[in-house]
Symmetry: C2
Subunit: 289 residues, 2 copies
Amino acid sequence: MSKTAKPLCILAGQGQLPLQVAEAARQNGRAVLVFALKGSADADFSGFQLHGLGLGEVGRALKILQKHDCHEVCMIGAVVRPDLTSLKFDLGALKVVPEILSTVIGGDDEALAGIVRFLAKRDIAIVGAHEIAPDLTATNEVLTKTHPNKADQADIARALAAARAIGTLDIGQGAISVDGRVVALEAAEGTDRMLARVAELRSVGRLRWKGQKGVLVKCAKPQQDLRVDMPCIGPDTVLKAAEAGLHGIALHAGHVLLAERDKLIDVANAHGLFICGVTPEEQDKHDAR
Amino acid sequence: MSKTAKPLCILAGQGQLPLQVAEAARQNGRAVLVFALKGSADADFSGFQLHGLGLGEVGRALKILQKHDCHEVCMIGAVVRPDLTSLKFDLGALKVVPEILSTVIGGDDEALAGIVRFLAKRDIAIVGAHEIAPDLTATNEVLTKTHPNKADQADIARALAAARAIGTLDIGQGAISVDGRVVALEAAEGTDRMLARVAELRSVGRLRWKGQKGVLVKCAKPQQDLRVDMPCIGPDTVLKAAEAGLHGIALHAGHVLLAERDKLIDVANAHGLFICGVTPEEQDKHDAR
């Protein structure tokens, strides 16, 4: 117990997920400290030891962690990508500005790997939300009343291949396939905007199908460090998938977090969508034979 | 001259390019017959022997070709993807419906390969617009006053890798990279909508940069049959790239058609954009070493 009883810091971005992870950690008997990122964090963390934190307040953050003898941080929730010119750096940050800047140039993966190295040097380990709260992670089961049919399985395979290809290039994690054709790929716009685009392409007649068809696949990048950057969906993603006319969502098992899990499944059931798991690793084994 | 003097049929989709190709063929001394696809063709073909053609009028089209002893067809201009349930088939089409339907299931490449096979059986060859009008094809030179700088070259390499990856999967031909990061990938929405999305992501602050930065790359799919499906850009694409805040456009040399070439270059110069060629084949040779 001595190890798990060590204090944990939640570095909280957008959404309810940081709160759910904080609650799971507390249930496991850990002291929890929350850094709510200004401009990103929006859940209600009352009841937790809470510090509002600007993205440039590196020095202050390190001091608070030191004061609490806290050596484990869980980064969770989307962070609004900063405009570098508007960042306010504190004195502690200024000392390490060159090191920090080198972390935010290039793709997401490079940036996050830089942050992990930066903290490791200061004796702070990053732990993944899926390690703190494994119940919030997608598994290989079907979570909904609706199950994927044969056409859905073909779309899952196509979208999965596309999502993995763009993931390998550190571009995005999501793809949508309908009727055996990939119609949308996710890059900077994110999953929700990609779904809204498909709904719009249908409404202007650029994409056409009747009823519910096609699948959104979310898949971690092969090189993705789940400790710092785990794909995530919530009830709103499911609602937008329904609005796009899709039949379901397939999630990389063990690699995607479900925000507000119960509500998410309720929304899927209310709209007749399936939510299931996929294991690209199995596909690899199959291909290697 | 006997071979080139054979009549040529232009199967015309959207835009000015079909007209430019028709004019180039006539200048080469060929008799030109234009099929203007209903719902797609919109150029002014007066002066050419012209037939309006619905997408389902296969029997009628074959009869007209036979009557003119015409055995070469050039398909050019975007075709609005048909809603299969609204297609009107003529008697000649009904005879071949199963064969036709098998051509339009799956990705673009499969569909077009099916059309080529279907026509080849009837002694009709498909010729590419770039064979009829080579002057309309992008080359490896810089067409504009502005040239790509070092940062642009890095973005060209990133976007090219992404465009080739999604091309290999028969998904799309375009990608946009800014500051070394791929921010948009093209699928069913097409290039112009992808550019509009980047402009929108900037206007809502999801993407941020000052001045003109980043590159749109258009690249043919490795398996693309240029005779039936050649990537294309026009002045409007250049204008949308300017509105998205990009610095330029790189085109797969020998594989992309320039609609309204002079106007396109004028628009680029007016907005300070570069237009240059790229040769992914060179990259392959380099990688193979």
